[in-house]
């Protein structure tokens, strides 16, 4: 039986929603797909990594297109999803350049975002039946 156009559109919307959820809340995509153990692991590990970055006085970079490296760091930071905007809204992640742990904090924040992007790709692969 061939899939109709409506079926394919519905499947695409479902895939996008899973990816959106996976981006917004680390591990949410896997949780929605029934991969509970993986979802909970991502949720705990990535959230803790992000919080460690804030604790280490890292900076949540602003999206400044005029400074390409700052913009790239901002995109990586935003990879963690809603947590980024909550932290920005709460005034966290200002970054204290003179702090001993400033660069470590940045590394934690940026890598947490990048790892969450990998998690989103993994959720996408699962929806496509590749895993």
């Amino acid at each position: 039986m061939r899939a109709t156009t409506a079926d394919r559109e519905q499947s695409a919307i479902y895939t996008y929603l899973i990816c959106l959820a996976a981006w917004a809340i680390p591990g949410a995509g896997h949780l929605l797909l029934g991969r509970i153990q993986k979802g909970v692991t991502f949720l705990v590990a990535l959230t803790l990594m992000f919080l460690c970055g804030l604790w280490l006085e890292g900076r949540l970079f602003p999206l400044e297109i005029r400074q390409p490296l700052v913009a790239l760091a901002a995109l990586a930071d935003m990879g963690i999803g809603v947590l980024f905007f909550i932290a920005r809204g709460a005034g966290a992640g200002a970054g204290r350049v003179v702090a001993l742990t400033y660069e470590y904090g940045n590394a934690f924040l940026i890598v947490a975002g990048l790892l969450n992007m990998l998690v989103v790709l993994d959720a996408f692969d699962i929806t496509q039946g590749r895993k």
């Binding site: 153990q37 993986k38 692991t41 991502f42 590990a45 990535l46 803790l48 990594m49 460690c52 280490l56 001993l100 742990t101 470590y104 590394a107 934690f108 890598v111 947490a112 790892l115 990998l118 998690v119 993994d122």
Partner: protein, 57 residues
């Protein structure tokens, strides 16, 4: 907990957990692969640190 080594170990711990969970499906395999990754990150970091020690800026 602000030493280079301590923070590197914490960083390696988180990255190992996420990679192991991504790349293995069974919890037992995840634990094994995660431990291997963690050891590789820490030993690799210390080795690289010692190599760079002989090339000061």
């Amino acid at each position: 907990m602000t030493s280079h080594l301590g923070l590197m170990i914490v960083f390696a711990f988180f990255v190992s957990i996420v990679f192991a969970t991504l790349m293995r499906d069974e919890p037992k395999q995840q634990l094994r692969f995660g431990a291997q990754l963690f050891a590789a990150f820490v030993v690799g970091g210390i080795t690289l640190g010692w190599i760079l020690y002989f090339f000061p800026l």
